[in-house]
């Protein structure tokens, strides 16, 4: 699904990503962890080009992001993204949040878009909130709506950028549950998170990053029980 080779992203002399290569296979759940400032979010955001890379090559669903002929819109239609700060559209109702891009981008009819939206609200358990404005919802509810909004585009890949970091502890569970359901349904997912329990349970592969590089990569069992790299050991000892 994603093939990234030797990507570099620099802010001045600081290298946020330093020749990073990684793949995400169809149906795979990849969890990316690491200390803050290690380049996790930058890496994730380069996949749908919210962050433009300076060097290297990224191919998403067969489309080369560097190729000037590639229409980035087509890539973004296939790649959903969930943000730490939800970023729901505050001037639109929950239902309108879910239908806007379907109508404007996917060119679906209003009725078709609303049916799809209601299906997804059912899935995230928020049918009753369809007419509410995001400002009236709790953080956990807002993030579930944000996930549903991305899913409404029927993406092939979902990116999660610290989806539970802005939530009160008691709301983290409901969001993770929705993500676990999604994983069970076979969605291809790349998740930046500090939730180690989620990583252990859901991930097919864990990527550990530090200082703009991928330091360690492997199955959750390997990573959590026998990490080979010193930096990874230190990080785990601090966080667990």
């Amino acid at each position: 699904m994603v093939e990234a080779t030797e990507i570099v992203k620099a802010y001045g002399s600081f290298r946020a990503l330093d020749r990073v290569s990684f793949d995400i296979y169809d149906g795979e759940k990849v969890v990316i962890i690491g200390p803050s400032g290690s380049g996790k979010s930058t890496m994730l955001r380069s996949i749908n080009r919210l962050e433009e890379i300076d060097r290297g090559r990224i191919i998403v669903d067969g489309m080369d992001l560097n190729d000037p002929k590639t229409d980035i819109i087509k890539v973004r239609e296939e790649v959903g993204m969930v943000f730490q700060s939800f970023n729901l559209f505050p001037h639109k109702t929950v239902l309108e949040n879910l239908t806007l891009a379907q109508i404007v981008v996917r060119k679906r009819s209003r009725q078709e878009a609303e049916e799809r939206a209601m299906e997804l609200l059912e899935k995230v358990g928020l049918v009753g909130k369809a007419k509410a404005y995001p400002g009236k919802l709790s953080g956990g509810q807002q993030q579930r709506v944000a996930i549903a909004r991305s899913l409404a585009m029927d993406p092939k890949l979902m990116l999660f950028d610290e989806p539970t970091s802005a939530l009160d502890p008691e709301m983290i569970g409901e969001v993770l549950d929705v993500m676990k359901d999604l994983a069970r349904d076979g969605m291809t997912m790349a998740v930046v998170t500090h939730e180690m329990g989620f990583a252990r349970e859901v991930a097919d592969r864990v990527i550990f990053m530090d200082a703009g590089r991928i330091v360690e990569e492997g199955t959750p069992e390997h990573f959590f029980t026998a990490p080979s790299h010193e930096r990874a050991k230190l990080f785990l000892s601090q966080i667990l």
């Binding site: 970023n87 729901l88 891009a101």
Partner: protein, 261 residues
């Protein structure tokens, strides 16, 4: 926690003050000024119908012209401001450069000079009625200020909104019109109201190019009857009543918008 653009403070120069919520109570500054002005006007007319009643009968045509100029100019200025504001944040170099140059030039020339310039410059090529060139001059000037209001309004919307829209596959135009602009309206509205009132007052400048607005009508009456003090007292009171009236309306509108969120 959503990051929203609430209570954005945008500096747009010297518009009239909008009454604050805290200014409640019977004797607010607004009430004293507004009803005081009306009361004074009524008192003067009743006690000395000559010349005050005659003045009051003479100037309504001018009030109408003042409204025409103000309304025409503000509508045109909003359109110009929208285009300029979008230009100022555009990545297109030409569009951005043109908008910035326009703002810099206009802000550096006094409005009165602009009015003269457009009136006489246009007059050299096409025969334009004075009122039309007055409206154009005011709109060109206020469009530049309005452009900065629009730019600030757009930039006050959190970056995450744009990112969310883009990540859903929207292009930059769809993002602007479906996501960013509707949210900026709330931020832009109060300063636009201030600009409206400032424009209303500045519209008195057009009296200099033979537009028969409120001030011009007053001057005509005064120079015929030699009642300068009396006439300009009435003119000042009328301007005061009109601007205070609109500042109240704008204040109420602003409150409505901030409640309806």
């Amino acid at each position: 926690m959503t990051i929203e653009a609430k209570n954005q403070i945008i500096d747009v120069g010297d518009g009239a003050a909008i009454p604050r919520k805290s200014d409640r109570g019977l004797f607010t500054a607004w009430r004293i000024a507004f009803f005081g002005a009306i009361g004074t006007l009524i008192y003067l007319v009743q006690t000395q119908p000559d010349p005050y009643l005659n003045i009051l009968k003479f100037v309504p045509d001018g009030i109408l012209v003042t409204f025409q100029v103000t309304l025409g100019a503000i509508l045109l200025a909003i359109v110009i401001g929208l285009i300029t504001g979008l230009g100022r944040i555009s990545k297109n170099r030409f569009f951005n450069g043109a908008a910035s140059l326009y703002v810099e030039i206009i802000r550096g020339i006094p409005l009165l000079v602009q009015i003269f310039y457009i009136y006489y410059a246009l007059g050299r090529f096409v025969q334009v009625p004075a009122i039309l060139s007055a409206i154009i001059a005011m709109a060109v000037c206020y469009g530049a200020y309005m452009g900065e209001v629009v730019r600030a309004g757009i930039q006050s919307i959190a970056k995450g909104q744009t990112e969310a829209a883009l990540s859903l596959g929207m292009n930059s135009r769809q993002t602007m019109f479906h996501v960013i602009l509707p949210q900026s309206v709330k931020v832009i509205l109060p300063p636009v109201g201030n600009e409206f009132i400032a424009l209303l007052k500045d519209s008195s400048l057009v009296s200099i190019i033979a537009v028969a607005d409120l001030l011009r009508r007053g001057r005509e009456f005064a120079s015929e009857s030699f009642t300068y003090f009396e006439t300009y007292t009435v003119i000042a009171l009328i301007y005061l009543i009109i601007t205070l009236f609109f500042s109240k309306i704008i204040g109420v509108m602003e409150e409505r918008v901030s409640v309806n969120k």
